[in-house]
Symmetry: C2
Subunit: 355 residues, 2 copies
DNA sequence: CGATTTCATGTAATCCATTACATTGCGGCG
DNA sequence: CGCCGCAATGTAATGGATTACATGAAATCG
């Protein structure tokens, strides 16, 4: 019985003159007709092979393969009310920090049969909302947002939203992020340990809780080191390279004296280093610089940047895992997951030069 | 008659007394029932308002708005056989060159009601094919690929594929790219003009036609400058920063003497600069370095990198425009669009130091 | 041996919006 | 006056798969 196989009987496949050799956009119906079974059986053979008898299953699979049939995902999705698509919302794709988080998301998504829809918002609330509405329109199953604003999805029931890298106080949103207070603290502790007493800080936009946390970490570390918090040493930037340059210009213009500078992200640190050296100040001899994120280029600045390494890939992977959990089980409560970040010491920091 | 509305009549729905107020996931049917019209009219009021009478249209829109109704995109897509999704296939999201191209794609897509599905392949043919199959499964309308391999989509008829940044000889695929021969030539001409006579070249993977072109441009420029093409001065890398470092190591290990180095992309140039300086060679005093792409960080290396600026955003925008054209008009023939690239002179190049 | 499961498969409802075609009512024209 | 055409709307087919329920046959049980 089992020995027969497909070899025997008749000439296989493409030689069939009368049949339609080029694969048309076949449907279940066609497959069913050719395999002489009902559409239900075809669907079952593909979805839950174990409920179909061995013989029928093989026959169907053979036909499916021969015609190159792929079930129409739209029809399936309509029926199952699942698109297996999630939107990754982020302010800026060109930011290498986000690209690496996205990659983590994409990996886990892919491992689980999901795909990632890219939603760059450029900070626009309108676009953010437009992507959120895609979930309402059943074009996507959920949203992972990397901005501190979490859009409301106009559906009833639980919001399929995960906040990655950022978080909001609201207890209803699942989030994955690092302990920014602690991470910033470690960086500043290290600078203090090197003997620096005037440590400047380039903050991020205060609208984002994580930026507030990083500043908080900075302040607490200064306290631990018994150093005064000098408001003149704190400047705010918007995470761009240019903001880092401007921050240094501003500090210098104000005549602030400082021997160390902690920036809320690597790009601002890169800008800061550029501005420092164009003012004839050497990094790290005159000023030590520490960044945040550990983007790929941090290793290749000159000098290589000392920075707080966020587990970018893990943040993305964890965010997507939480999303899968949310989607599969309507009961799981929202949760916050806090990962840890480590200081990576490279060449942009040095002991304070004895004056 | 029209004034009554839904408030009056009877208790709504399935007997759930307290339920009603929160907006359920309404459907056309519901809207139709409430607005006292047929589903067809509702659909028309939303799709082609001009064919519906003023009064009806307003009534329907009011109900739609009140219930926060959004048509189910899956159902619509099934019917219209369009997902308004396109896949952007690229080897590596973390590469800033691609992120900026993607951004261009995303912009045009968004302007035209399309969304971008992210397909990172990590160079895997399997994943490439998996994304191509999504088009066959009607999960996406087309593919923009940024790799030199163009996957075959198992559908009959024209392939909805656009090749961006790369291109294949095959005349069937629409492509947007720059004139790599000319662009590389300009860079090398410039080095020659600065007096360099031993110009090394870090090539990209020869499997990609654009890399072959860049090498060709290098060779032609050397000929124009009446300089010999020395095989020992050509090394191949894989576009990574590390490959740039290795390339320099190799050149130095072989005892090659060179005063200029042209790299097939900026990341390899960054790696090369790092390797040169760690060997005590100064850029640009000892060796001039030129990159390719002009990624955002090129401006912030030290010294700032002289490089060939690809119109990244335009490449993306143009690719998506071509895709829209392909999708809307089954007749347009595939075409190749060649954009131009300019040399951006920064600090990593200098006249050859008189020996 | 008749009754009850169990297994494999078939029939038809369902998901929800779009749209071809049918219908109705009304003003215009010969 | 009767027919035509147009405007507005309704009815029902359609897209393609999934799946609840039904059916028939074989297997198991008392």
């Amino acid at each position: 019985m089992s020995g027969k196989g497909s070899k025997g009987g008749r000439k296989d496949g493409k030689g069939a003159a009368a049949e339609a050799p080029p694969a048309r956009v076949s449907t279940v119906k066609e497959i069913a007709a050719i395999a002489k079974v009902s559409v239900a059986t075809v669907s079952r053979a593909l979805q839950r092979p174990e409920v179909v008898s061995e013989a029928t299953r093989q026959r169907i699979h053979e036909v499916v393969k021969r015609l190159g049939y792929t079930p129409n995902a739209l029809a399936r999705n309509l029926r199952t009310a699942r698109t297996r698509l999630i939107v990754a919302l982020l302010p800026d794709i060109a930011n290498p920090f986000f690209s690496e988080v996205i990659r983590g998301i994409e990996q886990v998504a892919h491992e689980n049969g999901y795909s990632v829809l890219l939603g760059e918002t450029q900070g626009s609330v309108v676009r953010e909302q437009a992507y959120a509405d895609m979930v309402a329109a059943r074009r996507a199953d959920g949203i992972i947002t990397m901005s501190p604003r979490v859009p409301a999805i106009p559906i009833q029931g639980r919001q399929p939203v995960v906040n990655a890298c950022e978080y909001v106080k609201d207890g209803q949103i699942s989030s994955v992020y690092i302990d920014n207070v602690a991470a910033a603290g470690v960086a500043v502790d290290y600078l203090a340990m090197l003997g620096h007493r005037e440590i400047a800080f380039v903050a991020g936009p205060p609208s984002s809780p994580i930026c507030v946390d990083r500043e908080q970490g900075y302040r607490l570390a200064l306290q631990r080191a018994k150093l005064p918090v000098h408001p003149g040493l704190i400047v705010t930037g918007d995470f761009s390279i240019e903001a880092g340059e401007r921050a240094v210009e501003q500090l210098l213009a104000q005549g602030q004296s400082f021997t160390a500078l902690f920036c809320s992200n690597d790009e601002m640190a890169i800008g800061a280093m550029r501005a420092l050296s164009s003012h004839g100040l050497s990094v790290p001899d005159d000023v030590s610089v520490v960044g945040f994120d550990d983007i790929r280029f941090a290793r290749y600045t000159s000098p290589p940047l000392t920075t707080v390494a966020q587990p970018k890939n893990a943040l993305g992977r964890e965010a997507m895992s939480m999303m899968l959990e949310l989607l599969s089980d309507a009961e799981v409560p929202p949760r916050k997951r806090v990962l840890s970040a480590d200081l990576v010491v490279r060449g942009s920091t040095a002991p304070r030069r004895p004056a």
